[in-house]
């Protein structure tokens, strides 16, 4: 999320930072990270110059080199690898909300590799693409202020998305009912009218039972369903087996409460189902659970109506990320090599091709390939580690710490170690950066212009200018891709001198009569395209049938079940009875928490002191059983791995559930191998499996919500 900030600059130095009262997200406020942004800019640990590893990788023997030397060498080595193994041997991993993603994709399309990766399969993308397949875009702009009921499903804005939480509380004060669905008694749950404490990973069962109740009790919008949708009869037949009684056993919620909550949602019109990402992290069944929620929204008539789930569509005139990516430059033969695309077809080239055809017909533009059409991370890391199905020999990591951010960290380690070339562009020296051949200094948000477009899928944009030129030798990611592109025969495709020139080019078709990007920021700052509701009426649905599809034809085209259905959780006593006795507890391995952003901000003292050690939440009953004291280090173990965190004893979790924090590494620990800043000590992704058979069938999402685990006390000095 990009909040608006006002920086005071004196003689080229940022002296003060406050929230921008005119920014629609934060209205002048700041979170702890925003309030510490100057520490981020000037921190002594920031990477300021290009560094080259001159010893063994991981030994921390870095030497300062010039940008020219670094880029010349990287380009030359990439060219050699491409020549020997094909362009697909070059991969990239990326992060969120700090980069210009189209530039990465442009570079990769031009060199000819489809192996671009983010944490996309576990972050919104299964949700977004299921919606897109059903009605042609995602309805991700819920009009909470006008809703009579908001369902917050697997999402805790009270800890991870504060402006959204402000909106929820304002709506609540005006009488909007808030329903929170979460296994954890979260900050958001504590403010809700109704909290449904489901068993981890049982979201799909609950959604299916809601469909059952709403359809069988006739609470859906008959007129809307009849006029604008296809597949209702088949949906109705399908959900008959998913009774509240059936779901009660799966979810731990009584049949009465399931039925009652379904009625509240269906009978409060308009209502929103706010998107969260926990439901993208169920592993196998993630997309099926999105499918059921999408059907709920449709049959209750909440799609694209005032106070409901509003679907933005692309910005009509701004040159979007999709238009900047040059996807047409990637030949079919290279698209087919995208790792994982033969199995996980929705969020890779097979699904993207079909989605794009539908979207072009209705919107004239598609969604970006970045995030929405990617290689599968687990497959890419396996290819790096094993050379199968073909060798991946080089990786460029930008705004990402893969050792912490992806499942199965020890496999990721093996993968990165096995590369011929690892380039990391970073703010900080991270565990992943320690393994790199080159670590390159990246400019942060005060040192670069930022354009917020929600990953290129919103019909609005908010722009800010750089407060200062990049300090030291830091560069923007756009400059990096451009200058690396220059060296790889892409000169004609990077015609813009600066980030600002590039943004100006993209803004020009809006035709606001500005002479420069800075002028746009000064006079306009943001641009919201005219938006109409109920676009399915005026434009038709961007689907094969042209209608809103409850039976999703695009899923059928790809060979998947087109109707909502139940998928057994990948890790449960039912699916893995052989280990049920050894691993009797359920691990929730994630959830954003203040004050960190993903794996970042561990170095900033004030922030770190708010949460100096990783915490695993355990119920008082469990603590008593294991004689665990508050703050004591305990082991968390799954068949995949074992890490330790400190006990936080709280009834916020059920007695057989534990919630471990994610993203942990320790900049203060030994930086070199084998410690790598303690990256395997408390990083919960060491315990998270990414076996493709446990991943979502459509999007390849690994499961971090509801994993079989056990705990034990850490003996002294362990």
């Amino acid at each position: 999320m990009n909040c608006g900030m006002l920086a005071t600059v004196e003689d080229g130095v940022v002296t003060k930072l406050v929230g921008d009262p005119e920014h629609p997200f934060n209205l002048g406020a700041q979170c702890p990270r925003g309030a510490s942004a100057l520490d981020h800019l000037n921190h002594p640990n920031r990477i300021n110059y290009p560094l080259k590893q001159v010893g063994k990788r991981g030994a921390g023997q870095f030497k300062r080199v010039s940008w020219k030397e670094a880029l010349d060498d990287i380009a030359a080595r990439l060219a050699v690898l491409k020549e020997e193994y094909g362009a697909e041997t070059i991969a990239t991993t990326g992060g969120t909300n700090r980069t210009d993603d189209f530039a990465r994709r442009r570079f990769f399309n031009l060199i000819g590799s489809p192996n671009v990766v983010h944490t996309a399969p576990v972050c919104w993308i299964p949700n977004f693409l299921t919606e897109s397949a059903s009605y042609g875009w995602a309805a991700f702009d819920p009009e909470i202020a006008g809703a009579r009921c908001v369902v917050v499903w697997g999402h805790n804005p009270g800890s991870s998305y504060l402006p959204e939480m402000r909106g929820l509380l304002q709506a609540k004060a005006n009488g909007t009912k808030i329903i929170v669905i979460d296994p954890i008694y979260s900050e958001t749950a504590s403010k809700a009218e109704l909290w449904l404490p489901i068993k981890p990973g049982s979201d799909n069962a609950l959604a299916l039972a809601w469909l059952n109740v709403i359809i069988n009790e006739g609470l859906f919008d008959y007129k809307f369903v009849a006029e604008w949708t296809v597949g209702f009869d088949e949906l109705s037949d399908r959900v008959q087996e998913y009774t509240p009684e059936w779901a009660a056993e799966k979810t731990g919620i009584s049949p009465e409460l399931i039925a009652e909550s379904a009625r509240i949602y269906a009978m409060s019109k308009p209502a929103c189902i706010q998107w969260g990402v926990a439901t993208d992290q169920l592993g196998k069944g993630s997309t099926a659970s999105a499918q059921a929620r999408v059907a709920l929204r449709i049959i209750c008539g909440n799609l694209d109506v005032p106070g409901g789930d509003v679907m933005p569509g692309p910005h009509p005139t701004f040159v979007t990320d999709w238009e900047m990516e040059l996807n047409e430059m990637l030949p079919e033969v290279q698209r087919n090599k995208q790792l994982g695309s033969e199995k996980f077809k929705l969020n890779s080239w097979p699904g993207y091709k079909l989605l794009t055809e539908n979207m072009l017909r209705v919107w004239g533009k598609s969604i970006p390939a970045e995030w929405f059409c990617e290689a599968n991370p687990s497959r890419v890391f396996r290819a790096m580690a094993t050379g199968k199905p073909y060798p991946v020999k080089a990786c460029i990591v930008l705004a990402n710490n893969p050792l912490v951010s992806y499942a199965n960290s020890k496999l990721v380690y093996k993968a990165l170690k096995n590369l011929d070339l690892l380039v990391v562009m970073e703010y900080w020296m991270t565990p992943s950066a320690m393994l790199a051949d080159y670590v390159l200094p990246v400019a942060s948000w005060l040192e670069r212009p930022v354009m917020t477009t929600t990953y290129g899928v919103s019909d609005w944009l908010i722009a800010s200018e750089r407060a200062i030129e990049p300090l030291y030798e830091r560069k923007t990611d756009f400059d990096f891709w451009k200058e690396l592109g220059y060296r790889m025969g892409q000169v004609e495709y990077w015609p813009w001198e600066t980030d600002e020139d590039m943004f100006k080019y993209r803004l020009d078709p809006i035709d606001l009569g500005v002479d420069s990007y800075e002028e746009f920021v000064q006079y306009y700052r943001m641009h919201f395209a005219d938006r109409e509701y109920r676009k399915y009426q005026t434009r038709g649905g961007a689907t094969l049938s042209g209608k809103i599809e409850l039976k999703i034809s695009l899923f059928e085209q790809l060979g998947y079940d087109p109707l909502p259905h139940y998928v057994e959780r990948p890790f449960s006593p039912e699916t893995k009875p052989e280990i049920a006795e050894q691993y009797p507890m359920t691990l929730v391995a994630g959830g954003g928490f203040m004050p960190f952003f993903h794996s970042e901000h561990k170095e900033i003292t004030r922030i770190r002191l708010l949460r100096p050690y990783p915490r695993v939440t355990i119920n008082p009953a469990l603590a008593e059983k294991f004689k665990i004291e508050e703050g004591e280090w305990i082991w968390i173990e799954t068949p995949t791995g074992k890490v330790k965190q400190t006990a936080f004893i709280s009834p916020a979790v059920a007695p057989d559930v534990i919630q471990a924090e994610r993203g942990w590494w320790f900049p203060e620990k030994e930086v070199t191998e084998p410690s790598l800043m303690g990256v395997f000590d408390s990083n919960i992704n060491v315990c998270v499996d990414d076996d493709p058979d446990t991943c979502d069938e459509l999007c390849g999402s690994f499961c971090s919500r509801g994993i079989m685990c056990r705990i034990s006390k850490v003996e002294e000095d362990a």
Binding site: G28, A29, C31, S36, Y185, P197, P595, L610, N619
Partner: protein
């Protein structure tokens, strides 16, 4: 004119932005906090639970034990009701820390003087709001004139039946809470 704060515990999610923003505003050492945040609960048995978050700083009491007991006159009331500490007069005797019923005073080791929330009096004097009010994403905080019956803070205190914390102690705090 009597400055007061209103804190809405129905809204606070305990993000601690106020703590950090205040530390940066006042250039405090990392272990010194003028505004602390505590999570209360959850209490009960899963899933029947309640919890809330509370932020605690100087209550700027009208009958302030710290002011009454300060041997050097360093702790004093400004005319606008704010309890202030004059660092020139403070000798670090810690008496005020003993008598403050809210435990919000801390010794600044670097300076050898006791410190606590100033209610950003310099900002208020300039017509700006306190840093904690400015930074709060949930809009859970409000600063205003308790003497002015037309002020937003007074209206909200009446409307939401806000109360000082531990008002039975009788120190007449200027900080009010809307309880969860």
């Amino acid at each position: 004119m009597h400055w007061g704060l209103l804190i809405n515990l129905k809204k606070c999610v305990g993000c601690q932005a106020c703590t950090i923003a205040c530390q940066n505003e006042n250039a405090l050492p990392s272990d010194l906090k003028y505004c602390k945040v505590a999570k209360v609960g959850p209490h009960g048995r899963y899933p029947n639970l309640t919890s809330y978050n509370i932020t605690v700083g100087c209550m700027h009491c009208e009958d302030a034990p710290c002011v009454d007991g300060c041997p050097t006159g360093a702790s004093h009331h400004r005319v606008d009701g704010i309890v202030a500490i004059d660092p020139e007069k403070c000798v670090g005797c810690l008496f005020c820390m003993l008598v403050c019923p809210y435990g919000v005073r801390q010794l600044n080791d670097e300076k050898g003087v006791v410190e606590k929330c100033t209610m950003c009096c310099e900002r208020l004097d300039e017509g700006r709001v306190t840093r904690c009010v400015e930074t709060c994403q949930l809009q859970a905080r409000l600063v205003g004139d308790l003497d002015d019956p037309e002020s937003e803070i007074v209206k909200q205190i009446h409307k939401q039946n806000a109360q000082p914390l531990y008002h039975h102690l009788g120190t007449k705090p200027s900080v009010y809470y809307i309880m969860p």
